[in-house]
Symmetry: C2
Subunit: 746 residues, 2 copies
């Protein structure tokens, strides 16, 4: 052969060999014993997909949220009424939709103990001369004035105080400010004989039920509650200044509400209100009004208060009804009523057990189906409930629409399972969510990563407002930084939030201030009873522009779609920002390989609780009683050090190219279960459900560990310093337990 041919053959052979090598290596999958890795090797380590997150946010439409709200608030939907049942069907149909639904949806029913007024015998507050020839010379409005046709809907429930007992007490009227114990004490100090009186009180300062519970202790016979325009309307009180001309509450507006001090079904504490469940006697219920109680509008309140006799009320008790408030008892001479007139509170409420539904929606997690991210809001309202709660449900439905679409199109399935809850009967005391946590206590406690609550999603359109336990801070911040404000595409929700509410953090400098969770919405049983990291997200007021206690139409017949559309969030861009933020949080929790909850952020909270105890009178009095905070300080120090080490280990794990899924699961379980380590079901035996040692309710103003604060306040009177020692032990043990849970395992 010629050298050209030889060269050609060699080159050709080399090319063929090379081609073969390339084909063999790249085109044919490895087989046999080394048959590649199982398919889960790739998926098991998959992290959050940022582009998918962005795509989710892009798809959230303000217009769809507006449509949702219009449908949700089209009619009154108080718990268990026809309107509520219609929304159960709406939720189910959305979540079972073939194009945009979830994996599945179902309805859970509980027999909830509720309280309703009697449509045949309206409640009222009346003034009259009640002798043998009784004549009623004033009666409070039966309901709100019809200003936009919505108020005339047949299903609008007349204003009432849920769980207040029926009765018709009659007596001299006194004005008792906010109905706090100290308010009644003040009246006694002023020489007022409260026995048999009717007390009129304004909303605020004390829980709804407390106004009557406290009053009964002073032998008050009945309680009237109203909303002062100074507290809700920035002082505006005329029809011209109020809805439908502004967002302010009209003179006829009445805040309805549940008058109970605890949450959950009142007859079945700790157990789900199922058919099989034992129910306590009504007489065993604690924390509800022992005397008839009725709310009225400020138009009627003005008629009553501005005609009172007696001494002028203290300055701090004065409001914006346009007169000088006197305390009574009884009416002044020369006023609208004969000065012999009494006031009668007529309450015909009926207590009844009715079926209330939770609607539950599920998306099964691909890798860790046994880890739950919970997201919920209640469904029931008092009247149309456009803002409370439908603004939140409208947001939830838009989030589930976009996620459902991504799911049905095969573009996405979360790493962890997502559970959506549309809770029933929240307004009566967080009943649906509480019964759910009772029924599935064990399972939820073991598997739940976090609970996201979006109840009222938009109180106002100025800024984000978030509440949560410290580990929630990091994920909410991460989300808020990725969402733009409704007002400006150049400003993040995070920056705007920091401008409105901020604090100086020892670790981070000036950051948005995350609020604390009380028991005001459905997160209560998740955090207090189950110890699940919880958060509540909303848009809210510019506090430089209003001092309203809450949005003025709250729990009135004016909380309508029109009100939301024209005054709360025209364009629904704040709703959109909340949907994007909460949805971003949800996706981060569901999809991040390592849970985006920074456990070390608990350290700042613990430091704060400690430092408020370790100073001033509090410290001096403890020291005088031979009680040392040293062990608490040491425990917090250990927690902070252990948490820092934990974060260091996470950083190293993130640097590993392909960490074992069980290693990842281990640290994720430590993150998830940290909150549980603060639980102590024996800590507060007299406080239903409260078992989280950091967040339990307390009566004392001292901003330290709640058990310690209350035991201290009590010991100042009783000298029972052993209770303080006990609660100090409880606090130390909780912090030590939390530290232990984050230590390197074994």
């Amino acid at each position: 052969m010629s050298w050209q041919k030889i060269l050609g053959a060699v080159i050709g052979g080399a090319l063929l060999l090379t081609a073969g090598i390339l084909l063999g290596h790249f085109a044919i999958p490895k087989g046999g014993a080394d048959q590649g890795a199982p398919s889960w090797v790739q998926t098991v380590g998959r992290d959050l997909d940022e582009s998918l997150l962005q795509s989710f946010m892009d798809q959230v439409e303000s217009g769809k949220i507006r449509e949702n709200l219009k449908a949700l608030a089209s009619r009154p939907h108080m718990a268990t009424t026809e309107g509520d049942e219609a929304l159960v069907k709406l939720l189910l149909s959305r979540w079972q939709d073939q194009q945009t639904g979830l994996d599945s949806a179902s309805e859970d029913v509980y027999g909830a103990f509720l309280s309703f007024p009697d449509p045949q015998r309206p409640n009222s507050v009346a003034v009259g001369a009640w002798g043998p020839n009784s004549s009623q010379i004033f009666t409070s409005r039966r309901s709100e004035k019809n200003v936009t046709a919505d108020q005339a809907h047949a299903d609008v429930v007349q204003p009432y105080a849920a769980y207040a007992p029926p009765g018709n007490p009659r007596g001299r009227l006194v004005y008792a400010n906010q109905g706090k114990r100290s308010d009644y004490q003040k009246l006694v100090q002023m020489g007022i004989d409260l026995n048999g009186t009717i007390a009129i009180t304004r909303y605020g300062g004390a829980g709804r039920a407390d106004k009557a519970v406290n009053g009964a202790e002073f032998d008050v016979a009945g309680v009237v509650v109203y909303t002062d325009p100074g507290d809700i309307n920035d002082g505006q009180a005329s029809e011209e200044e109020t809805y439908p001309n502004s967002w302010y509450m009209p003179p006829s507006g009445v805040e309805r509400g549940s008058y109970n001090g605890y949450f959950g079904d009142l007859l079945t504490p700790y157990y789900p209100a199922k058919e099989f469940t034992y129910r306590i006697k009504e007489s065993e219920i604690q924390g509800i009004p022992p005397i008839p109680t009725q709310p009225i509008g400020f138009e009627d309140a003005k008629t009553l208060i501005c005609n009172l006799a007696g001494p002028v009320a203290p300055v701090a008790w004065q409001g914006s009804l346009g007169c000088s408030y006197h305390v009574g008892p009884g009416f002044r001479t020369g006023g609208q009523f004969p000065n012999t007139s009494d006031v009668q509170v007529n309450v015909h409420n009926q207590r009844v057990i009715k079926n209330s539904s939770n609607v539950m929606g599920f998306i099964r997690g691909s890798e860790e189906p046994d880890r739950y991210i919970l997201y919920g809001n209640h469904r029931d309202s008092w009247v149309h409930g456009a803002i409370d709660p439908s603004s939140g449900t409208a947001v939830m439905l838009e989030i589930t629409r976009v996620l459902g679409k991504m799911l049905k199109e095969g573009k996405w399935r979360p790493r962890r399972s997502i559970i959506f809850g549309s809770w029933g009967a929240e307004e009566f005391g967080l009943i649906g969510s509480t019964e759910y946590t009772e029924e599935f206590y064990s399972k939820l406690r073991e598997r739940s990563v976090a609970y996201i609550n979006v109840d009222i999603s938009v109180f106002a359109n100025a800024t984000l407002r978030a509440q949560g336990t410290p580990p929630a801070q990091s994920v909410i911040f991460a989300a808020a930084k990725q969402v733009q404000t409704p007002a400006s595409t150049s400003m993040s929700v995070y920056d705007n939030w920091r401008n409105h509410f901020n604090r100086s953090s020892p670790s981070y400098g000036i950051i948005p201030s995350l609020g604390s969770l009380g028991a005001g919405s459905d997160y209560a049983s998740f955090i207090h009873y189950l110890g699940i990291t919880s958060m509540d997200i909303a848009y809210t007021y510019d506090r430089s522009k209003t001092s309203a206690r809450i949005y003025p139409a709250y729990h009135t017949a004016f909380d309508t779609f029109d009100y939301a559309d024209r005054f709360i969030d025209p364009g629904f861009t704040s709703h959109q920002a909340v949907a994007r933020t909460a949805g971003n949080v949800l996706l981060r929790l569901a999809d991040s390989l390592i849970l985006p909850l920074n456990v070390s952020d608990y350290g700042e909270k613990l430091d704060e609780l400690y430092s408020t105890a370790a100073q001033g009178n509090f410290l001096a009095t403890l020291t005088a009683n031979n009680i040392s905070l040293g062990p608490l300080k040491a425990a917090i120090g250990r927690f902070k050090s252990v948490a820092a080490d934990f974060n260091q280990r996470i950083r190293k794990l993130k640097e590993e190219e392909s960490p074992s899924p069980l290693q990842i699961r281990m640290v994720n379980d430590q993150i998830m279960l940290l909150e549980r380590a603060f639980l102590n079901p024996k800590a507060f035996p007299n406080k239903y459900y409260y078992s989280h040692v950091i967040w339990a309710s307390k009566s004392s103003d001292q901003a330290t560990f709640p058990g310690l604060a209350d035991a201290y306040a009590s010991a100042l009177e009783t000298k029972d310093w052993d209770q303080v020692r006990k609660h100090l032990t409880i606090a130390v043990q909780a912090v030590e337990s939390a530290a232990s849970s984050l230590e390197a395992v074994a």
Copy 2:
């Protein structure tokens, strides 16, 4: 080219291409994104290695266990004494040994509230004429007779009733059988005035403390307790018939013990007894003797009882002291004592807080370090404690020696972490183990798969005896089938066990009978407080050959190495069988890919609890009170169905070639946490620690759910059927919760 050349070129090219393909496919590892599988892909799915399990069992030596026991029982080692502290060092040195130690070992110290006699003022039971010229004519022995030199050791603690209060009550002697409430009632019925008497009672029938607690209710002034030879010695009572000539208790033997009704450190319920911990007042302690109490030997008891005056005791009260038992009060005329003689109980016990240690040993798990298999036994004894507890510790040390060797030689590392506990101060009330569960409550609750307790490992050498909750049955059976009996290599421990103790199971036919766990050893807080699947393993009696209440040297100065070596287990082959069985259980739990705990076995137990309630008077009385067991039946039915489905899913998972490690973890977590679903910390507010709805202690004999049984018994008197309804709800909710926890996730 010729066709040959063309053919040659084509073939050559084809060969080269093929060679290239082969080279490319097999010789060059996949690179880049597809670079083979991470190393954990293989290890993460590794299952139990049966050959390694066999190797472990082969290496367990009876001779080593004998050596261990000799070292452990060489001197008395009551909690916190020098002997105990010496064993702390021994344990630490074994577990920190370079050749056969564990990964690490440490000492955890608690300040335990203990009770000791005063060495300067020995306790006694005396007879005398106590007038102005008092003369003591009889005094009980200070301690056991010295028969093998061991009894003369300076550290032998004199017999006493721990936690009995000091005092010197004096009165007429009465014989009160076992000191049950019904026994004292019987005496009253017989016309005996118990006021101010001293009651002599025999061990058995009631808890130690109850004899005094009950007596005090009847105004008894002091209590004497002894062991009747009829209860412990099969009637044998002479020196010739007893140790050192047989295993029976000599006449001077005295059973010491802790006289408390609850477990855990008595001053720090629910909190670890650390320096920072609040301690309740001694006066707040519940369940300890309110009156002086002292145990004596039957030699002394005979002198007292056989001289009693009064009516003859009932037949069931008679024992084997060799005389007719009379009940008193006081001594008979013509007996050993003047009939005017009184008996005085002299108790000088002192209560003191002393440091008691747990020694903890760790082996870190390779794949799931955050899953714990716990194995423990207490270290402290009353005297030499050869059997109680050193027979268990000798076994534990042999297990850790073999595992430690395999570990140090690099032959083995468990999939899950193993934690060994040598608990302190068990004899005083399970203090070390309880404080441990209190200190690490949260962590242990979240991570513990099971707790294995081997306290007394060999009561006698006839058969295995195991107690545990139903899921433990499957793993104990699997282990017992792989171990041969000491007596015969052709019979398995399992078959021999089934010959001695068996039951007819609806699912399996005739199988060995797994006993229930009470609160008699350190498993108590693991099962009752933490809800961790627990078990207790030992070798025990042939019940056809002895009716001894327990091995006769129990808690006496005769429980020595010599006693164990000559009478309990000569050759230590029963110890070896227990070590192999318990070690096999441990390895199965630590190494099996899927946890070898069969959750569906709970179904049989639930059926049993239900069926005893759903019949006879119990059912009829419930029905008469309008209480239906229907919901309980339905819940149990659901549990059984869900558990069967769960096992079906496990079978499918086992058939998969390479299931995802997170899928495996998911079902393992469901298995691990099933037991936790039965916990209800609100169910028994008055029973310290008991929160497991199936296994809580109860007073009633009715073999059904304990809360239901006790509420029923109480309602028969009080007519409080609401409590029965409540406990029925508690039972239904626990079973429903357990079923939910096993359901397919999401």
